[in-house]
């Protein structure tokens, strides 16, 4: 069953058709990778799905409900979360505070004006638990801007998970990482994929082929092909789209 579906989703930036009548379905519990050359519209698609920008045409259905016109925080509360290609964290705040903010939102706190934040022990406990689970313990009080790039990538995914989504969109989670950290992240993705539906934009074909249940290939704003890793590997159209063998699909 599809947890999320789009119907004829279209977005223009001036004369450029960034996303062109995309209709897709993300199967519940599956890990779907979205691949394609730069400028194919993958990030724009994520921005549309999560309400950062509004489509010019088309609809987005999440669990059967039309979420096309909802605002970001409403979509997040429905159960969609995402990470960003370019790290998007609270840089001046500490690791602990970054995670805290996600947990606090998930537990429905925030509007309390006059109560001491320190007294919300359930937020504190959950925050410490999450940090421990991600293996970032001991860096709690470090301002995020001082963390290593790999740690920040992990944190980026971690705080997207604090909202307890049923669908998580990861935009190039391994970009800019060394192979060690790549392995760390792809194992992490495999592990969480058993608990929720994942959609991942990824350039690293080794990662894509090894973790995906389903692959959607985008080019020039539209869907070029989709199928299982094996089907995509043998698809000639896909081979052509990746000009000059820039990405090896073998």
């Amino acid at each position: 069953m599809a947890i999320l579906g789009t119907e004829g989703l279209t977005k223009n930036f001036g004369g450029l058709r960034a996303v062109n009548s995309v209709s897709l379905a993300l199967e519940e519990g599956k890990l779907t990778s979205i691949i394609g050359p730069n400028g194919a519209g993958k990030t724009t698609l994520f921005n549309l799905l999560t309400g950062l920008i509004k489509p010019d045409q088309g609809r987005i259905l999440f669990k059967g409900e039309d979420i096309t016109r909802l605002r970001i925080h409403q979509i997040v509360r429905k159960g969609i979360s995402r990470s960003f290609q370019i790290l998007n964290l609270f840089n001046e705040l500490t690791l602990f505070e970054n995670v805290w903010l996600g947990v606090q939102a998930q537990q429905g706190h925030g509007p309390e004006l006059l109560s001491d934040a320190e007294k919300f022990t359930s937020i504190k406990e959950e925050t410490l638990r999450v940090i421990k689970e991600t293996g970032l313990s001991g860096k709690d009080d470090t301002p995020v801007k001082l963390l290593s790039y790999g740690d920040r990538r992990i944190l980026e995914i971690t705080i997207s998970l604090t909202t307890k989504p049923s669908l998580l969109l990861l935009d190039e989670p391994t970009s800019g990482l060394m192979s060690e950290d790549r392995k760390r992240i792809s194992e992490f993705m495999k592990r969480i994929s058993s608990q929720l539906t994942l959609a991942v934009v990824e350039h690293d074909m080794d990662v894509v082929m090894s973790i995906s249940d389903h692959i959607i290939v985008m080019a020039q704003g539209g869907i070029l092909a989709q199928g299982t890793p094996n089907e995509i590997r043998g698809n000639e159209k896909v081979q052509e789209a990746y000009l000059g063998g820039q990405y090896c699909l073998a």
Binding site: F90, Q104, A105, D116, T163
Partner: protein
Amino acid sequence: MTWVFILFFFFPKFPLIGRYLSLGTEVMIWSLFAVGFNILLGYTGLTSFGHGAYFGIGAYTAGIIFLRVYPGLWVPLLLSIVGGALFAGLVGLIVSKKRGIYFSLLTIAFGQVFYFIAFRWEELTGGETGLSRIDRLPIGIPDLFQIKLSTPMNYYYFCWAIFLIATLIAWKIVHSPFGRVIRAIRENEVRAAYLGYNTYLYKWASFTLSGAFAGLAGGLYTFLINSAFATVLDWTQSGNVVMMNLLGGGLVNFFGPILGASIFIASRDLLSAYIGRSAAYLHFEIDWLFIYGLMFVFVILFIPSGILGLIGRKKRTILK
């Protein structure tokens, strides 16, 4: 926190400056204004250049209610808070959708709207002449226990108490879950939205709250000078409160605005008194505002995080 209020408590006993009670009162009123304003500027990261308007609305509300509806102290003061919050709340509905320079420009525009309304609506505000004879009536229970506020000393301590309570409330606000969310918005509004926070609502609330503090400060100011003029709504007032925050280090320390307001008001009085005099003696025409302006250019250029930012540089770089 404590030492700030101990300092203000003993201010009237200080040698030399202790005599200038109304100056001390003014410092506390502006400090209150600036501390509330810093919820918006320092914690939420939104630069409003129009909060003089809510100070002015508070000032006029107190005056108008006193003269027309209820000659007392508590009711006009309470309604000056309501007035400041109400109008900030209305403007906030519109400006909270904006960010950065657009936000700031809109706040200036609304500030000017209120200024011209106050200036032109003579029937209500007295226009250019303003409102006067707004006396400080005694508080307490008649015939039983009363405090005369008409003396500068008593009014000083009255303001001290209000300043203390208001600052405590602001302290609680910035250390609450709400306070954490507005800091998150300052750091990264998009990410805050992606955690599920309705950032628009939080920005609006922050704007409205700072408007309430501004309104209260305006009300206290009206009773200090026993009158209300359109100049309290002037855009320079809005600039002053921004300046006080930057000067003292409101971006890095909760108490920055208090230090900033103190230096600002004190140096204004000193400069206007001494520079005016010595310049006349030297047959040299110089406006004290010139020196004043230079001082602030210096601060912005060389100590952008303000005086407390300079002292606490190693300790922390950002508001906690």
